[in-house]
């Protein structure tokens, strides 16, 4: 008799902290590591608030805030070693690339439309922010494959949205990663939306994590608003990849608490009921409650962190805003390793044009 795959039953994401910040199991993170992660989460939230207000004043470009996804991004990053691991980002992972060594002022310059924003310091192991959805994924597999060939023990972590995971590049990448046993972790942030398109319109699959089975790789489904759970799952996936045991797809179930970006009006499609369903799940508050209840954080400690975050954001935005405007020469920089006569002639023509 024909045998069909059984219909799926509902699954719950892995969780270590409940919404009140109560620990449900064991965490491998030390208090110091959790505090450090908490600071990255607050830093990105501080930056998002500041940059959003600058954008409203016309002093910053269109950008996508991390709001609501801080635990997801920081939890994933906290399992990585910037000295050997790589990140292939999408665009909504600011604290991960900061922790990996990207200067905040460069990130700010990028969204101010300044070419200086494309600069990635030499020792920083990240690929450029990806705007063309899912295009980073094949590249992440390639970098991981190359690290494996060169017998380093580096791992590549690549971020992708629920929407972007519908692209062919996503499926082609998971497939190749499985075949090549590449040391790569696909970290899928399911934040409920791709601009206005809800998660249910991207896939009929029970979870995004279920797709892993189809590519013969490991899958995990985790509460993305739970820093400790995300760190635990990511740590295991990174260790497995490092040990040569292949790739993992992690679905981090989270919620985009703000607009898609500063040009978006979510009132056109997000309902009050949608927000209601996620009320009380703020990832920053959850870690804060945990840290306070375990005695790792008090009011003074919290204020000190807030001040450091505010100072760092002010410093970085100050540097970005005082960076001189780029000239037309920047159009021509870094286009070719070996420019040629016609190209050089255009550069000269554009230089003269800027003078008139």
């Amino acid at each position: 008799m024909t045998r069909f795959t059984p219909p799926h039953e509902a699954v719950e994401p892995f969780r270590l902290l409940d919404t009140a910040g109560e620990l449900l199991g064991e965490t491998q993170m030390s208090a110091a590591e959790i505090l450090e992660s908490f600071e990255w989460m607050l830093l990105t939230r501080t930056f998002d608030e500041k940059a959003t207000s600058l954008q409203r004043q016309g002093r910053f470009g269109t950008f996508s805030s991390v709001r609501g996804q801080e635990a997801s991004v920081v939890g994933a990053a906290s399992a990585l070693d910037p000295a050997r691991d790589w990140i292939a980002p999408q665009y909504r992972e600011l604290p991960a690339i900061l922790r990996h060594g990207m200067p905040l002022e460069n990130f700010a310059l990028y969204f101010m439309g300044h070419p200086g924003g494309c600069v990635i310091p030499d020792h920083v192991r990240i690929l450029p922010i990806q705007i063309s959805l899912a295009a980073q994924l094949p590249q992440a597999v390639g970098v991981a494959w190359g690290l494996q060939r060169q017998r380093t023990d580096g791992v590549v972590a690549t971020f992708v949205g629920d929407g972007a995971s519908s692209e062919g590049d996503f499926h082609e990448s998971l497939n190749l990663a499985g075949v090549a046993k590449a040391p790569v972790v696909f970290f899928l942030q399911n934040n409920g939306w791709a601009i206005s398109t809800p998660r249910a319109k991207q896939t009929a699959a029970r979870t995004f994590a279920d797709r892993a089975a189809g590519y013969g790789i490991h899958g995990a489904y985790v509460d993305g608003n739970d820093l400790l759970a995300v760190n635990a799952v990511m740590t295991e996936a990174v260790e497995r990849a490092r040990a040569g045991d292949g790739p993992t797809l992690i679905e981090s179930l989270t919620w985009r608490a703000g607009a898609h970006n500063t040009a978006d009006d979510p009132t056109k499609y997000v309902t009050a009921a949608d927000h209601e369903a996620w009320a009380g799940t703020d990832p920053v508050e959850r870690v804060e409650a945990y840290l306070r209840s375990t005695g790792s954080l008090d009011d003074d400690g919290y204020e000190a962190i807030r001040h450091r975050c505010a100072d760092e954001v002010d410093r970085a935005l100050g540097v970005a805003q005082s960076t001189p405007a780029a000239t037309s020469g920047a159009l021509f920089d870094h286009v070719y390793a070996e420019p040629f006569a016609r190209f050089d002639a255009q550069r000269e023509a554009w230089r003269q044009m800027q003078e008139v």
């Binding site: 470009g61 269109t62 990028y110 101010m112 439309g113 300044h114 070419p115 924003g117 494309c118 705007i131 063309s132 959805l133 929407g163 972007a164 519908s166 692209e167 062919g168 590049d169 791709a194 601009i195 206005s196 398109t197 319109k201 991207q202 896939t203 040009a263 056109k268 499609y269 405007a325 780029a326 000239t327 037309s328 920047a330 159009l331 021509f332 286009v335 016609r342 190209f343 255009q346 550069r347 023509a349 554009w350 044009m353 800027q354 008139v356």
Partner: protein
């Protein structure tokens, strides 16, 4: 006649066509509930239902490929690519499949599909959103490529694109969406695909442009007129098929040709025009055919896009210089 913006004209034409013809569907990313990121499809889902105005999974390849299948099945899909830059993700379907299905099936299958895509720069979009990649598509035999510059032509060309059994790439200027407003007749009409239009009469020099660059050419022509240079402006409207006679007549009328486009110089559609002009108008030319384009560099981050996209001062300067070239 009412004055409309380009985006209003597109939206209302889509609505009229959906009301007129039950086979017309609109599919794309964020086209339904949101009404498109530029609101070009706003209100359509509420009026025609979620099964005719469909929010698709985020994958341009399957959006275009499924559109092709819908067209083969007897529907008349209007497919939206959110930004032409993301047409790359569907290029295998467009270049290999959509453009040649008729040929590959020896005429058995038609592809009455319209692919709409905003393109071009000047509105400070994020990276990779602003390129003018029309030349890639003009290089795909089997596909027609149109690029209206006014709200009027937006309606007429969209209707014509829906009427033809050939697949049409319908390019919408990001910059003109709300900036460009003009009179649009209420009743249905078509602008013939493959027919250019003289939008300003002049005697000294001919500027050939399409899409947002037409408005730029017209503004430059005003300024040139004040300097005593009379510019003739041709709005190409269709790239494929190219109105060879229209181009030749417009250039021969003045003897000087300036081609204006936003895309980089090398391999741009201006190259096709320049070759056509030299062939058709060789004995009428008083000066070399001149191209005003972006440089051969990637579209930059928004902070320096003004240095990249041709602007009015540059058009005026280069046209003036061309007038000084003596045969």
């Amino acid at each position: 006649m009412a004055v409309k913006t380009m985006v209003e004209s597109i939206r209302e034409t889509l609505a009229d066509e959906m009301a007129r013809d039950g086979r017309v569907m609109v599919i794309g990313e964020d086209v339904g509930q949101l009404g498109g990121v530029f609101r070009a499809t706003e209100g359509l889902q509420a009026r025609f239902g979620a099964d005719r105005v469909v929010d698709m999974p985020l994958a341009e390849g399957v959006i275009v490929g499924a559109g092709l299948g819908l067209a083969m099945s007897g529907m008349r899909p209007v497919v939206e690519i959110q930004f032409l830059g993301f047409g790359h993700q569907a290029f295998h379907q467009i270049g290999q499949q959509v453009a040649r299905l008729r040929y590959r099936s020896a005429g058995r299958h038609s592809v009455p599909m319209v692919i709409r895509a905003p393109f071009g720069g000047g509105v400070r979009t994020p990276e990779l959103h602003s390129d003018a990649f029309e030349a890639f598509y003009a290089h795909c035999p089997g596909l027609k490529v149109v690029a209206p510059s006014t709200a009027h032509d937006a309606k007429g060309l969209l209707n014509a694109a829906l009427d033809t059994d050939d697949p049409v790439l319908y390019l919408e200027p990001l910059k003109g969406y709300r900036l460009q407003r003009d009179e649009v007749p209420e009743d249905r009409f078509t602008v013939p695909i493959g027919k250019a239009q003289v939008v300003r009469e002049g005697t000294d020099v001919t500027i050939v442009a399409w899409s947002a660059a037409v408005q730029l050419a017209l503004k430059a022509a005003d300024e040139l007129a004040a300097d005593g240079i009379s510019a003739h402006v041709l709005d190409l409207r269709s790239l494929v098929p190219l109105d060879v006679t229209g181009v030749a007549d417009a250039v021969s009328a003045t003897g000087r040709a300036v081609i204006l486009h936003e895309a980089p110089l090398t391999g741009g559609f201006g190259a096709e025009l320049a070759a056509t002009i030299q062939q058709e108008c060789f004995y009428d030319l008083l000066a070399p055919v001149h191209r005003i384009t972006a440089p051969d560099t990637p579209y930059p981050l928004a902070g320096i896009e003004e240095a990249y996209v041709p602007d009015q001062a540059r058009v005026v300067r280069e046209v003036t210089a061309l007038m000084e070239v003596a045969p």
